[in-house]
C-alpha cells in the first residue's frame, strides 16, 4: 500500500514546477504566464498531479512544457517513490488576463510584445501609445496577433488572438450566434 505524499513534497513540487520557463520566452515562468493551474496530491495521496492550461489547443510548445514540468517535479521529489502526473485541462480556459502584471511588463520591455487583457488596454511596447489598430488575427505564433501603432508607426505583436469566452466554461450554445458573429466588426 502506497503512503500518502507528504504535504511538504507537494509544496516542493509546486515550487519547482512554478520555476519552469516557457520555451518561447525562456525568462518567463509558466506560473507567471498562467499556464500552471494546480499542483495537488491525488489518487489516494500516492500521486502528485500537475494541471496545466494550454494557451491554444494547437500550441506546438505543449509537449515541451509538459516534459519540463515532469522533469522539474521529479527533481523536487529527489528520487522518492512518488508518481507524477501531468495533465492539460480544458477548463478553465486560458486567457491573457492570466498573465501576471510583472510578466506583462517584462514581455513589453524585453520582447516588444504587448498583451491584450480585459482589465487594461494593450499599449504599444515601443512608445506606450494605447490606440493600437488591429491588423491580423494571425502572427508569428498561434497565440499572437498583429496590431499597428499609429503613434510610432510600428507593427506590434499582441498576445491574445482569440476572443475568449467571457466567463470560464461559458457555453456558446447557440450555433446561430456564430453566424451572426461573422458580420460583427473586428474588435480593437
Amino acid at each position: 500500500m502506497s503512503r500518502a505524499v507528504p504535504a511538504a513534497v507537494v509544496a516542493a513540487v509546486r515550487r519547482s514546477v512554478s520555476q519552469v520557463c516557457d520555451p518561447e520566452y525562456p525568462e518567463v515562468t509558466i506560473a507567471e504566464l498562467g499556464i500552471l493551474e494546480r499542483v495537488s496530491s491525488t489518487d489516494g495521496g500516492s500521486t502528485v498531479r500537475i494541471e496545466l492550461v494550454p494557451t491554444m489547443l494547437g500550441c506546438p510548445a505543449l509537449d515541451v512544457i509538459a516534459r519540463d514540468a515532469t522533469d522539474a517535479a521529479r527533481a523536487a521529489c529527489a528520487g522518492a517513490d512518488i508518481s507524477i502526473e501531468v495533465a492539460f485541462v480544458d477548463s478553465p480556459v486560458w486567457t491573457p488576463d492570466r498573465i501576471a502584471p510583472s510578466a506583462v511588463d517584462f514581455l513589453a520591455r524585453e520582447y516588444s510584445v504587448a498583451v491584450r487583457r480585459r482589465s487594461a488596454n494593450a499599449s504599444c511596447p515601443i512608445c506606450g501609445g494605447t490606440a493600437l489598430e488591429h491588423r491580423s488575427d494571425f502572427g508569428p505564433t498561434p497565440c499572437r496577433s498583429v496590431e499597428w501603432c499609429p503613434q510610432c508607426r510600428n507593427p506590434v505583436e499582441v498576445v491574445g488572438r482569440v476572443e475568449f469566452p467571457a466567463a470560464t466554461g461559458a457555453a456558446q450554445s447557440s450555433p446561430a450566434a456564430m453566424g451572426a458573429a461573422q458580420s460583427s466588426p473586428v474588435p480593437a
Partner: protein, 270 residues
C-alpha cells in the same frame, strides 16, 4: 427481472450511463477528429507558398489550430493519439471527403475554408453543452479559437465577391464544393444522431445542423446574387461516404505525407 418474474423492459437509452457510451458517440468524435486532422494537414501545405505573407501565416496558423483540435478530440478517445491519428487503415478513417481535397489552388482553399469553418461553428455550437462533459469542454475551447478562422474566411470572401473577377472565379468553386461539404454532416455508420440528441451528447440532429449551416452559407453568398446548389449533380461521378469509411482518391497521398516522419522514426512524437 422484476418482482413479477418478467424480464425488465429494455429502454433504448440508459439515461444514467456515461454519455460517451451512447452508441455512435465515439464514432462521431472520431469522425470530427479525422476531419480536423486532414484539414490541418492540407492547410499546412500553404507554408511559405501563400499568395501573400499574411495569408501564409493565417492559413498555417489555422492549420496548427485544427491539428490541435484533432489532438484534443483524439484525446477524448484514448491515450495513444499518434496511433489513432496515423496508425489506422484507410477504411477506419471517418473524415468527410471535402477534408481530403488537396486544394492547391488558393481560391479553392478559400472556398473550402469558408464552407468548413462555418460548418465547424455550427457543430461545435451543438456540442458546447454536451452531456459528455469533456467533449463539451473541448467544443467550448475550440469555439473560442474558431472565431478568428471565421473572420478570416468571411472577411476575404466578402471583399473578393465585390469584384467581377472574384465572382467569376469563386462561385463556380461553390458549385463544385458545396455538395461535397454536405458530407460533413453525415452520420458515421451505426451512429444514430437521434440517440445522441436524446442522451444530450448533441444539442440537435445532424440534419438540423446541416440546415443551419446552409442558411449561414446562403446568407453570406446572397449579396453576390448566388445560392449554392446543395445536391450532388452526379452521385455516380462523386460517390460520397467518407463517414462510412470510403476514402476519396486523394486520401492515400495525404496519409503518406502525414506518416512520412513516423515511418522514418517510429519513436517520433507530435
Amino acid at each position: 427481472m422484476n418482482d413479477m418474474g418478467e424480464p425488465e423492459r429494455v429502454t433504448a437509452i440508459e439515461p444514467t450511463g456515461d454519455p460517451a457510451d451512447v452508441p455512435g458517440a465515439r464514432d462521431l468524435v472520431l469522425a470530427l477528429a479525422d476531419d480536423e486532422l486532414c484539414i490541418g494537414q492540407n492547410l499546412g501545405w500553404w507554408i511559405a507558398v501563400g499568395p501573400f505573407l499574411e495569408e501564409d501565416l493565417a492559413l498555417t496558423s489555422i492549420s496548427q489550430d485544427e491539428l490541435g483540435h484533432a489532438r484534443a478530440l483524439y484525446g477524448l478517445l484514448g491515450d495513444d493519439i499518434d496511433a489513432m491519428a496515423y496508425g489506422r487503415e484507410p477504411y477506419e478513417y471517418l473524415c468527410a471527403h471535402i477534408t481530403e481535397l488537396p486544394c492547391h489552388d488558393w481560391a479553392e482553399t478559400l472556398v473550402r475554408h469558408f464552407l468548413y469553418d462555418t460548418a465547424e461553428s455550427v457543430r461545435w455550437g451543438a456540442l458546447a453543452d454536451s452531456s459528455w462533459e469533456s467533449l463539451g469542454a473541448v467544443a467550448r475551447r475550440a469555439l473560442a479559437e474558431e472565431r478568428s478562422h471565421l473572420r478570416h474566411a468571411t472577411g476575404l470572401l466578402d471583399r473578393l465577391l465585390r469584384t467581377d473577377a472574384g465572382i467569376a472565379h469563386l462561385l463556380p468553386l461553390f458549385d463544385q464544393l458545396a455538395p461535397m461539404a454536405c458530407g460533413l454532416f453525415d452520420a458515421p455508420s451505426g451512429c444514430s444522431d437521434e440517440a445522441l440528441v436524446a442522451a444530450g451528447v448533441m444539442a440537435c440532429e445532424l440534419g438540423n445542423q446541416r440546415a443551419q449551416w446552409q442558411d449561414i452559407v446562403g446568407e453570406a453568398l446572397a449579396p453576390a446574387g448566388y445560392q449554392p446548389q446543395w445536391a450532388v449533380a452526379d452521385p455516380e461521378a462523386a460517390p460520397l461516404g467518407g463517414r462510412a469509411g470510403r476514402r476519396s482518391p486523394h486520401f492515400a497521398a495525404l496519409h503518406a505525407e502525414m506518416v512520412e516522419v513516423l515511418s522514418i522514426d517510429p519513436s517520433a512524437r507530435w
